[in-house]
Symmetry: C2
DNA sequence: TGAATAAAGTTTCGATGCGAAACTTTGAGT
DNA sequence: ACTCAAAGTTTCGCATCGAAACTTTATTCA
């Protein structure tokens, strides 16, 4: 019981520091933390997940709020919006070079990256596993989407070295697509 | 290298989920995440750390912004402000019963507490240690205050079962004070 | 086929966050 | 006594944020 309270405090501090550093980084570009979150997401999501609705789920905000944040990024020249050819209700978002640069420079924040690179791979491996199970636990409890990498999804079927099959969309896709975030990402099993 | 990227992603998700749940919890009281952070802090800080300036450092915001957030909490009846008798520039903040209740109910967020109670103490022990070292690493790198518990401070000298001595203020204090957050908290050593 | 319904996004409203900078009051140092 | 620093407050301008009303386009189902 004692550990749990301490861990809550630690995560609270990490969460606040994380956000403060992101805020500081965005300030020089006139951006708020939520904008950097959007740039970060668009820089890593796959082609099924680049819509305002997906961004809304990622942020956990309302669609009205998300719409305005995206509009701001568009007017600042960091994001481009393009209408879907088949479903005219849908828009696809992509980063401009300037937007991609800001995302790459600031997300994740420098101090976090620096702190982690000071650790060896064997040191961080158990941490990764524990954070993973904690995250899965919270996501299922709050029934929020997992936004995991495509290749870790239950619908991802490896075919060979250069391609895989997505059981959800029924498409053959090149392997490097598997490294991207998918809004439809589904956990392989709830209890393992 | 691979683990580090993944851990960054995991912390990003945890951070966002954390904040979203806090936002949701605060919404029913008309409070923003930052207000719950303040209530959380005031509920756990010691008597040297209950000032607007300390809250400012905890939040990592400017003093103007912090001042307005505190004023709002005051008008809503969750916080009381009282001028220091010796230094009239300083004000001391305390929670009303309503404020204390909201803090206790919502911080840390329910899903996080629930996820952690599903784990045994032996499971979470290594996680705690790793998060601690990660946090210390980031705090020293960004030269931000640690806001740790009094009893983990280098100036905390245990005397007996009911009291300790604070080398910083030169005061004898009851043991239970050691469980509170201190703005002057100083890490015992940087490399151990 | 046609009407109801749902889904994706936008717009408007009002309260507030947020940084920056100017300001007041009070204490500390020389 | 004079200067400087520290703690807080106030004002300004822009943006977030949720809620709710709205438009446009798809889908469902009768």
């Amino acid at each position: 019981m004692k550990n749990n309270d301490d861990i809550c405090d630690l995560l609270e501090r990490l969460s606040t520091l994380f956000r403060n550093e992101v805020r500081q980084a965005g300030l020089v570009h006139g951006l708020h933390p939520v904008h950097l979150e959007v740039l970060f997401y668009l820089n890593k999501c796959n082609k099924f997940s680049d819509t305002p609705a997906a961004v809304k789920d990622f942020l956990g905000a309302t669609k009205g709020t998300t719409s305005k944040s995206i509009t701001l990024l568009e007017t600042k020249g960091y994001v481009v919006k393009k209408q879907d050819t088949k479903d005219k209700r849908v828009y696809h978002l992509s980063l401009t070079e300037a937007g991609r640069q800001i995302a790459a420079d600031n997300m994740p924040p420098m101090s976090l990256r620096a702190a982690l690179t000071r650790c060896s791979d064997s040191e961080t491996s158990p941490l990764k596993q524990q954070l993973e199970s904690l995250l899965v636990d919270i996501q299922t409890a709050t029934s929020s989407l997992s936004f995991g990498l495509c290749k870790t999804c239950r619908f991802h079927l490896a075919k060979n070295n250069t391609a895989f099959f997505c059981e959800l969309t029924g498409e053959d896709l090149p392997s490097q697509y598997g490294e991207l975030i998918c809004r439809e990402h589904t956990l392989k099993s709830l209890c393992e």
